[in-house]
Structures are given as structure tokens and as C-alpha cells.
């Protein structure tokens, strides 16, 4: 008999998502949760309601992305004069001032990563829904990259907190944070939760169904 490679689910096993220990999947009484006997985390064969939760969080992220870009994130006032900057206008100003190096860093962290993350998550969700033939190994890799880079979007928020605390010279030079920063911070947190709630094993489950 040819040996078939089994997944944990096919072998009626559950691995703990925190500590990785394998357990036999035994049905428990209704209303009771399966708990990991080692670390106490709740056991799930797949992340609960993964697709619905990820869709909800991705859509929230997309909606929050609008105020994050429309409202200004901070105002630099020099000699009593200054205009509020949005994320995009701040980046353009950096390029105009010749600070292209940090312009690129902020562009990647504040524009490229959040947009890429939302687009990739939507593509992954669609690929699971419509059983696309997109190479599952590639999809897993893309998912892992998106999961890893997400936190770097907080760069702008941290920078604003540093500047707001440091640049307090009144009339001479002053930095004030604005409402847009809150919306942008919310985008980052929501999209981080979105990528956490997506279960990459779903990519492989569907793949297996074709065989």
C-alpha cells in the first residue's frame, strides 16, 4: 500500500496553536471547549470562523484607511506658521526637501505595506473561496511575509510620538499630532488582527480536495 501523506486533520489529530502539541481529536460535550492538556489554550482544528473574521477585519481596515489618508497626521509649525500634513503630503514634502532616503522608508511603511497587506489578504481569501489553482506553497510564503512585515507600519505612529515629545519649542518649532494618526494606528492594528485570523491551512485543505 502506498503511504499517503496525511494532515493532522485527516489523521483526526489536533495540534495546539500555541505550544504545538498533538492530541487525538475526541468529541467533547456541547458547550465545553477542547483545551490543550499542556498549555491550556483552546484547541481548534482550524482557526474559528477564519474566513468570515478575516473578511470583516480586512473590510474594517479598508474603511479606516480612508480617514487615515484624508485627515492630517501631524502639523509642523515653524515661526508660528505651519500646515497640517497627511501621510501622502508628508512623503511628498520629504521628497521635495531632498530627504528621499527617509521618504522611501516612510512610503514603504505607511503606504506600501498596508496596501500590499490588504490586497494580499483579499487575494488569499478569494483564492480559498473560489479554489484558485495558485501554487499553495507560494501562497503560504506570501501569507508569511504579510504576517511578518505588518508591524513595521507602526513606524509613522512611533515617529509622531517621538517628534511630538521632542519638538516643543513653542514659536520656534513645534510638532502637533493630529487625528489622522489615530485612524492610521487603527488600520495597522486591525490589519494585524486580520492576518492573524487568516488560517494558511485553508489554502492546503482546498488543494487536497482536488486530488
Amino acid at each position: 500500500m502506498k503511504k499517503k501523506r496525511l494532515t493532522a486533520r485527516e489523521a483526526s489529530l489536533i495540534s495546539c496553536h500555541i505550544c504545538g502539541k498533538l492530541f487525538r481529536d475526541i468529541p467533547v460535550a456541547k458547550g465545553k471547549r477542547k483545551k490543550c492538556a499542556r498549555c491550556g489554550a483552546t484547541l481548534h482544528t482550524r482557526k474559528p470562523e477564519s474566513l468570515a473574521r478575516t473578511w470583516a477585519l480586512v473590510i474594517s481596515g479598508l474603511i479606516l484607511y480612508i480617514p487615515a489618508n484624508v485627515y492630517p497626521i501631524m502639523t509642523v509649525t515653524q515661526f508660528g506658521r505651519g500646515t497640517p500634513d497627511t501621510i501622502i503630503s508628508g512623503i511628498i514634502a520629504l521628497f521635495n526637501n531632498g530627504l528621499w532616503s527617509i521618504g522611501v522608508i516612510i512610503f514603504v511603511a505607511s503606504v506600501l505595506i498596508p496596501v500590499l497587506k490588504l490586497v494580499v489578504l483579499v487575494l488569499l481569501l478569494l483564492s480559498v473561496h473560489f479554489r484558485w489553482k495558485w501554487n499553495p506553497r507560494q501562497r503560504t510564503l506570501v501569507y508569511k511575509i504579510v504576517e511578518k512585515i505588518g508591524k513595521w507600519s507602526m513606524l509613522d505612529i512611533f515617529m509622531i510620538s517621538i517628534l511630538a515629545a521632542l519638538v516643543k519649542l513653542g514659536f520656534l518649532l513645534n510638532v502637533t499630532p493630529n487625528r489622522g494618526a489615530s485612524a492610521f494606528g487603527a488600520v495597522v492594528v486591525v490589519t494585524m488582527f486580520a492576518s492573524m485570523s487568516f488560517d494558511p491551512r485553508l489554502i492546503w485543505d482546498r488543494e487536497h480536495d482536488h486530488e
Partner: protein, 203 residues
């Protein structure tokens, strides 16, 4: 519940992989999707414990001393890690202030403290309560610690201010740089699988 010591399920694709017998500095990957299954570390507990103790000391210094100094024609200001949080709060961005506080101070500190508690108890062979729960929380909190991002933010802020004013570095910043190196090394030397096994044995 039955145990399956020779098998390990891939976290990314759920495939069951057969684990090799334990050997130090051994990295195993999933045979289907290539994700990391497990990597064992040499002398993990001692090394990580040393780094964690050093990390906590530098954390204290990084928090207590100024990170940057700013000078414009006679006027001077400094900032600490916590002043960014306080000022965001005063400017009315309470949610932002909370995020920065959690991600740059609370979570990184708690993560180090949790490791200290667990590793010290393993090292001294004393059974203290709540270790499994604490190590579980460590994994939950892991992604929300963002010291490395904060470091980049400091650099970007410095470059941005160079045109306006004279920026100089404070003692806190040097401690902070050491802290980053230490906390990254600590997560690199931590052998998760080993800790779980030890904690389970001594329960």
C-alpha cells in the same frame, strides 16, 4: 489524551511530519510547504536567561534617560520613551498614546519579565505556579512587542529634524540600541519546544 511524540503538525499547512531524534542546533522544515517546524538551540536556557537579565537592566536605563536632545538657537528639549506616550495623551490622541505605550514599553517589558520568571525557575529547578500559562501568554503577546520598529522611528525622526535643528543623542538611546540587540538575540536563542517539554515534565 493520547500522545504523539514522534509526529509534529506543520503550523502553516497542517501536514504531519515525522520528527527526527533530538540533536542540538537542528532545524527541521515541513516536507510540503517548507515552513520551519522546529529549531533547537545550543544551551538555550542559560544563554537566554543571561540575555534576559541584561535586557531588563538596559530596559531600565533606556526608560529613565533621555533618548534625543534637540537644540534651536538656545532653546533645548529632550525626550524619553514615556514622554511620547504622555504627550500624545495630552494632545488628545488617547488611542494612539495607548498603542505606543503597549507596543514599546509594556509588552517588551512584560515579555522579558515573563522569560525571566520561567527561565530562572527552570534553571534553579524550583516549581513556581503559572509557568505554563505565562509561557502561553508570552506567545500571544509576542507579535505586539515592537522595539525594532521604534528604533527605526528614532532614526527617521533624527534625520527628519537635522534640517531644522541640532539633534544629539542621549544615554537612553545607547541603552536602547543595546536593548534591541539583546532582545533580538534572546528570541533567537529561545528554544520554544525545549521550554514546553521541560515545563510539562516538571508540572
Amino acid at each position: 489524551m493520547m500522545q504523539h511524540q514522534h509526529l509534529i503538525a506543520c503550523r502553516e499547512c497542517d501536514l504531519l511530519n515525522v520528527t527526527k531524534p533530538y540533536s542540538p542546533e537542528d532545524i527541521s522544515r515541513c516536507s510540503r510547504c517548507g515552513s520551519l517546524l522546529h529549531s533547537s538551540k545550543i544551551n538555550s536556557i542559560d544563554r537566554t536567561l543571561a540575555l534576559v537579565i541584561a535586557g531588563l537592566m538596559f530596559f531600565l536605563i533606556a526608560c529613565c534617560y533621555p533618548l534625543l536632545n534637540l537644540k534651536v538657537v538656545g532653546a533645548e528639549t529632550t525626550n524619553k520613551m514615556i514622554t511620547g506616550v504622555i504627550d500624545l495623551y495630552h494632545y488628545g490622541l488617547k488611542d494612539c498614546s495607548l498603542m505606543v505605550f503597549m507596543m514599546t514599553i509594556i509588552v517588551p517589558f512584560i515579555k522579558l519579565a515573563m522569560l525571566l520568571y520561567i527561565l530562572l525557575s527552570l534553571k534553579l529547578n524550583i516549581n513556581v505556579p503559572g509557568r505554563l500559562f505565562i509561557f502561553r501568554m508570552y506567545h500571544t503577546l509576542d507579535v505586539w512587542g515592537m522595539l525594532d520598529v521604534y528604533m527605526l522611528a528614532i532614526i527617521v525622526a533624527m534625520v527628519k529634524l537635522v534640517d531644522f535643528a541640532t539633534v544629539s543623542t542621549g544615554i537612553g538611546l545607547y541603552a536602547f540600541i543595546v536593548l534591541i540587540v539583546i532582545s533580538l538575540s534572546a528570541s533567537a536563542t529561545l528554544d520554544h519546544h525545549l521550554i514546553w517539554e521541560k515545563l510539562e515534565e516538571s508540572r
